[in-house]
Structure formats: C-alpha cells, structure tokens
Amino acid sequence: MLSKDALEKLLVHLDEDRERAGEKYETLRLGLIRFFEWRGCAFSEDHADETIDRVARRVVQGEEIRNIHNYTAGVARFVFMEIMKEREKQQIALRQLPQDPGREETPDDDTRGKCLRRCLQALGPESSQLIMDYYRDEGRNKIDLRKKLAEQRGISAHTLRMRLQRLRDRLEECIADCLNSRSQSDQ
C-alpha cells in the first residue's frame, strides 16, 4: 500500500506542478495496466499498483532516478517476471490436483446482447449507426467502406479510426456497467 508521503514524493518527481503531476500519474498507471494486460495478466490493476509502489519506495529511499518512465518500465518487467515464476509454480501444483475447470462466471449472450443494444442506443443514433457501418463488411469491401465513411465526413481514415476507438471505449465502459448492475439486481 502506497503511503501518503511516498505518493507525494512520486508526484513531485513526475512534475513540480501539482495538477500536471496528477495527470502524469494517471497516464503512468493506465500505461502500466496496459503493460500487464498486453502480457495476458488477469490482475493487471493490482500489478500496476505493485509496480508504482516499488518505484515510489525507491524514490523515498532517495535513489537517484533520472528517467522515471524508463525506470518504471524496468520495474514492471521485474514484476512480470515474478508473476511468470509464480504462475509456473501454480501450474505445477494444479497439475497434481484433481481437475476442476473453475470456470469464470460469464454473463449469458442474451444479457450481453441486451446491454449492447442499450449502450448503442445511449451513444446516440449517428454514433451507433457509424459503428454498425464500420463493422458491416469484411476484407476488401470493409476497407473500401471505411474509406467511404471517412470521405463522407470529410475526415482522414486515421481520424475515423481513432474516433471509432473512442466510441468503442465508451461502449465497453457502458456495457461493463450494464452487466454489473444486472448481476447485482439478480443477487
């Protein structure tokens, strides 16, 4: 757990301006969560916090860190190596136990479909139509269609791609909330 003093020192290390330091901290943490996700870790947020914790402790101990981002990336790699070692040990232990699939509880397709429709509606008619159009075709047709969608809006293909990425993020967030509230109301 990161102490208040350690967090303060880490923030100062990120930027002298308090507001900018807060933003940089958020970017660093989100980047670390992605780092662990892209390596297939199930508890990426916990690992990100563990990494920040270790970096902050080094800062408190007065270690000279010239490039905090480079240093943090190095610490994250160490944390990941430890996770891998732990995973190997667990797998060996699991192989010796009787088989238990231990399936992750996933919402059924019907619930997911309802949430998807609700969240598409919440995005507004034009945005949801844009998403539908974006996913309509496959292969060469898909490429041509996306080019046309960008031209119709007078924007570059890159801007359209980034716009879709942001829309999908909003959709994902909305669906996660919707599934959560439905599972809570079922309990």
Binding site: E19, G22, K24, E26, T27, L30, G31, R34, F35, F36, E37, W38, G40, A42, S44, N67, H69, N70, A73, G74, A76, R77, R112, G113, L116, L120, L123, G124, P125, E126, S127, Q129, L130, I131, M132, D133, Y134, Y135, R136, G139, Q152, R153, G154, I155, S156, H158, T159, R161, M162, R163, L164, Q165, R166, R168, D169, R170, L171, E172, E173, A176
Partner: protein, 282 residues
C-alpha cells in the same frame, strides 16, 4: 494483415515480436504519453478484428491468445467486436436517398426563389445607397461588422477610429466557429477559415446536455497528437443552448483537420463529446 510501418511496429509489440531494446523504448513512450497508449489501443482493436476475421497466421493467433486475449479486458474486447460484427451483418446498410420524381421541378422552384432574392437584394441595395449618400453628407460614423451564425467562421473586428483602416492589422481580429458534437454532425466536417492577421480563434462547443460543473478540452491535430489542454472550463448559455466557449491563439492552427475532445474535468475521465473541424488559412 497489411499495415503501415508504425502500425506494424505496434502490432509486433502487442504480439511480443519486438526485440527487448525496442520494447523498452516503446514502453517508456506510452508510460509517459496517453496519446501513444491510444495508438496502441487502436492497433489492439485491429488485431482483435483480424483475429475474428481469420486474417492472422496460426502463430499470430496463438500469440494473441496467450497475451492480450488472456487478459480480462482482451476477452471483453473480443466479445464486443464479435457482437458488433454479428449485429452489423444483420442490419441493412442505410440506403442513399433516391432522387424524387419531382427533382427537376424542385430545381425550377429553387431557381425562381433565388432570382426573387437577387431582385429584392438589388432593389434594397439601390435604396440603401441612395439613403446612405444623403446620411453621409450629414455625419460620418463607424460601426462594428460583427456577425454571428451557426457553424460559420467569420472575422470580427472592433471599431477602428481611422477612416480607412489598413486591412488585417487589427490586433483583436477574431475567427469564430460554432461546433456541434460529432454524433449530431454526420455531414462534412465544419470549416473554420482563419483570415490573415487573426489573433484569436473562438470556438463554441455546443453541449447536448450539461451535467458537469466544469469541463476539460483537448485539441488534437490531424495525427491525433494533443496540441493543447484546457481545464476548469465552465458551460455558458448561448443562443443554441448550453455551450463551452474556447478562446485560442490563432497561431496554434495550421491548415488541416482538428478534433476537440470534451470531457468532465477529472483525471482519467472519458470524453463525453467530440468535435471535428477543418482549418483553412487565408
């Protein structure tokens, strides 16, 4: 999967195919820069799509399954893309409007209306010229030529005490534009013309709903690179409803495409609206 150089590099990173030294360089970039994270997230989406469409090699599939798709968010993303593809394939494409049988007739009416407007305009200008000649004889006066209209960029000049002010030298010259969120704007992107000599660009961002105490705006360039961040912005009442108004230096803009992301003024919050416009400099 055909890709450009940078996208290929990012794809290789996500699949674990980059040499360690390059991996570290990239990690250093995205730990410091949210824009780099967004680019990786866009490539992540492309990979998931390619996975579902069977465009990845057997090796790439295995790599993606063992890495990103093994994470909770990866599985969620895969589910979402699968559902969207299924839903989109069920939906019929939106038909482009067919020309109505009265199309030629509509042209006749439009032309007649335009002729009427021109005739009326000519008659009014003749009348006004006659009356202003007599007024000028009595006294000389200066006035503003500020106008405001939705989604139209226009120069605004404050009164100048000289009789013949030199063109484009007024330090308060403003170019302004009113923008609607992207969701409401399916037509061509709005165009903002910045005249030579303009110092300030005023951008009115119309809000669909005003639910937040204050807002944060991020201006992105054509490559989605952040150009400017403004925080603590308050919504105000305008003729078109609630809006956030930004005053930015005109020197910030080059010709090209820009996007503004508007969101609640909290760290890590998701944007609630997006505005795209094209800048033209004269």
């Amino acid at each position: 999967m055909k890709q450009s150089g940078e996208d290929k590099r990012l794809t290789d990173y996500l699949l674990g195919n980059l040499p360690e030294s390059e991996e570290i360089r990239l990690e250093e970039q995205y730990l410091a820069n949210s824009d780099a994270q967004d680019r990786l997230a866009a490539v992540e989406d492309d990979l998931v799509e390619a996975f579902l469409e069977g465009q990845l090699s057997a090796r790439e599939r295995k790599q993606l399954e063992a890495r990103f798709l093994a994470s909770r968010r990866g599985r969620r993303k895969l589910e979402l893309a699968k559902s969207l593809m299924a839903l989109a394939s069920q939906q019929k494409p939106v038909q482009e409007p067919k020309p109505s049988p009265f199309y030629p007739l509509r042209w006749v009416f439009t032309t007649a209306a335009l002729l009427l407007v021109f005739a009326l305009g000519w008659w009014m200008s003749v009348n006004m010229r006659q009356s202003s000649t007599s007024e000028r004889a009595a006294s000389q006066s200066n006035g503003t030529n500020a106008q405001k209209g939705p989604a139209v960029a226009h120069p605004t000049q404050t009164p100048v005490p000289t009789a013949n002010p030199p063109e484009n030298t007024n330090p308060t010259m403003i170019a302004s534009i009113v923008l609607s969120p992207v969701a409401r704007n399916t037509d061509q992107s709005a165009r903002l013309t910045i005249p030579q000599g303009a110092r300030t660009v005023q951008i009115q961002l119309d809000l669909e709903v005003d639910h937040h105490k204050s807002y944060r705006a991020t201006l992105l360039g054509a490559g989605d690179e952040p150009k400017l961040n403004r925080r603590h912005l308050k919504a105000e009442s305008t003729r078109s409803g609630r809006a956030v108004v930004l005053s930015l230096p005109a020197s910030l803009f080059e010709q090209g495409e820009y996007t503004i992301l508007l969101g609640p003024d909290q760290n890590g919050s998701t944007p609630i609206a997006e505005y795209t416009f094209i800048v033209q400099k004269k």
